[in-house]
Symmetry: C2
Subunit: 203 residues, 2 copies
Amino acid sequence: MRISELAERTGVAVPTIKYYLREGLLAEGERSSPTQASYDDRHVQRLRVVRALIESGVSIAETRKVLTALDDPPAAAHDLLGAAHAAVTPAADDLLDLSDAERLVAGLGWRPGLCDDHVLAGVARALHRIERAGFEVPAEVMPVYLDSIRRLADAEIACVPTESVEAAVRYVVLGSVIVEPLLLALRRVAEQVASAERFSTSA
Amino acid sequence: MRISELAERTGVAVPTIKYYLREGLLAEGERSSPTQASYDDRHVQRLRVVRALIESGVSIAETRKVLTALDDPPAAAHDLLGAAHAAVTPAADDLLDLSDAERLVAGLGWRPGLCDDHVLAGVARALHRIERAGFEVPAEVMPVYLDSIRRLADAEIACVPTESVEAAVRYVVLGSVIVEPLLLALRRVAEQVASAERFSTSA
C-alpha cells in the first residue's frame, strides 16, 4: 500500500508518518519508484504501537528503545520485562539512596537481585519527591498500596502468553507501558466514587 | 529571607525561582528595597509543592490550576477532588464515546453522576489507545485491576483529614497527583518480582 493508505488505515497523518520514518521508528517501505515506497501490514502494526507509546507519554528516544526490545528480545523470558522497563525508566543515579525504597518494596516480595536497580531507583525517586513536597502517605494507606499493586502484578504476569516469544514480548513490553494511563485514570474514578460515598450529603 | 536563602532551603535554583515568579506559580516576596524582596515560610512550602508537581510531570498551566484549587478550595469536601482532577485531566471531548468506560467503571462502584465526566473521559481515552495499539488487557486481569484500584482508593479516601479544610485540600489535591509516580514505580518492581518468581531458572 502507499503511504496515503497507511495513513488512512492507522489514522496517523502522512507528515507524522514521515517524521517517524526520519526518526527510525518505522522501517522504510520498499521502493516501488524513485518517488514512491510501498508499505505492508507490518507497517500498520508497528505504526499503531508507536502511536500508542507516544500518546502514553513515552518520548521518541524511549520509544526507539522499546521497539528495539520488541525486535531483538532477550533470550530469557524474565529479561524481557527488564529490557522494557529499562527503556522507559531513567538510569539509576549513583547518588540516590536506595535504602528507603528497599525497605518499602520488601512488602512487594522484593529481595536483593530480584529486580533491576533502575526500577528500584524509580521508587526511591518517587519517595524522595513526595517527601520534598512535604507530603506523607498515611501509615494505613501504604500497606494497601503494596498489597493491591502486588496482586495486580501477579495477575498480569500469570497471563504472559508462552506460545511464542513474539507474543510474550508484545504482551510484556506493551502491557507494562500502555496500561499505565488506564490504571491512573481508573484510580481517579475510584477516588471520586469513594469520596462521593464518604462525603456526599445527598444519598 | 532573601531569594538566595529560599533557594538554599528548597534546593530550587534562583533562576528557576524567578521563572516560577514570572509564571505566577509563586507569590512575589515583600519588597524590602527597589532591587530586593523578602520571602517567608509560606514561600518555602509553596515552592516545594510547585517543584513536586512539575517533577511529577504536571505542566506549568496545570500546576497553576492545582494551586488555585489549593488556595481557593470549593466548599464541599467532595468537590475538592473534582477540582484537583479537573486541573490535571484534559477536558472531555464531545466526540468521545463514554459507553465502554461506563461499563468498565461499574466495577469500581461507579453510577451515573458519581464522578466527573472528564475523569470518565480519561478512562475512555486510555481504553481507546490500548485498543488502537492492538493490545488487549486479558479478561482475567481486568477484574483484578478494578478490585485492586478500588481498595487502594478506599484506603486513601478513608484517610482524608477532617480537622481543617486546609489539611483536607492539601491531602486530596497533592495525594492524588504526587503519589502517581510512586504507584507506577511500585508496579514495575512488583512485575519484575512476579516475573522472577514465575520464570527464573535459578531459585
